[in-house]
Symmetry: C2
Subunit: 185 residues, 2 copies
Amino acid sequence: MKGLFFITSNKGKAVESKELFSKSGIDVVQKNLGYPEIKANTLDEVAFFGAEFVKNKIDQPFFLEDAGLFIDALNGFPGVYSAYVFHSIGCKGILKLMKDVENRNATFRSVIAYCETGKEPVIIIGECKGAISEKEIGKNGFGYDPIFIPKGQKRTFAQMETDEKNKFSHRGKSLHKLLDFFKRR
Amino acid sequence: MKGLFFITSNKGKAVESKELFSKSGIDVVQKNLGYPEIKANTLDEVAFFGAEFVKNKIDQPFFLEDAGLFIDALNGFPGVYSAYVFHSIGCKGILKLMKDVENRNATFRSVIAYCETGKEPVIIIGECKGAISEKEIGKNGFGYDPIFIPKGQKRTFAQMETDEKNKFSHRGKSLHKLLDFFKRR
């Protein structure tokens, strides 16, 4: 495979996938094309709907990705609306909502929709369990990385280099699964 | 006008519009049809997109409505995602985010998309300025009513009867404008 388009406006996501795929000789090309996102209950629906829209505009293999942070004590909030919530109340808002909350369990989910010309999108899911930290720590990554500690680790995603984060992260897992999908064929 | 369909799954909204329109001899009929809601930056886009979808499924005049609570100190949160946020963190979550926040200004917005067979949807906007209360008060209404005090008032929407709430409220205003629209023709 020569070039693989990643339809996203998010530089951080593009960096993570470029780094991971380059090791397999695949050149990920970020394409900020834009697509309508529906208000849905699951990331799968958002990604599928987005891919169905993009596939009519592009004649090369591409993928797009939707991710969300689901916090147990907040009934899954911010979930499907993680990006919007991040841009309004941010990590500080989440930490305020989690003040004095004992159960800090949370799950980061990543859903990739991969699509080839004339075919239906393939949906691939990656998940990373962990906990919400007591304060923001670390300068790497983006979004909720400074407040998420993956299970079995002591540092937040924002304290890790891209390479290390990709080993644990939801997106690292979904990207690895996409690579496996290519290799099996 | 005989019957006017209100496409909504929200009983509270249906009650408010029935009460207001019945005074003008218009019978509002709630229809829980369902329509896709897009992730958008404005309520207008959500309502317009919804109406465009519904108008192909129904051959009678109808309206649908999207509403949101925009809190100044939270950069407009929960805004376009008010319903989702209500069902995850609720009024309690909003009050926690507003703890020790001095600027409690907020605006309730209601956007109606009214549509007749074969025509483009008409967009009508109602707004109500007010403040977030320090605690939940009142049992009437629904959603964020127990924590919203309209400007110039001392009680929350949830402490008012439907008739009184309709005088101040965002939805009362957009519904009145829809009535005016009918009368002008």
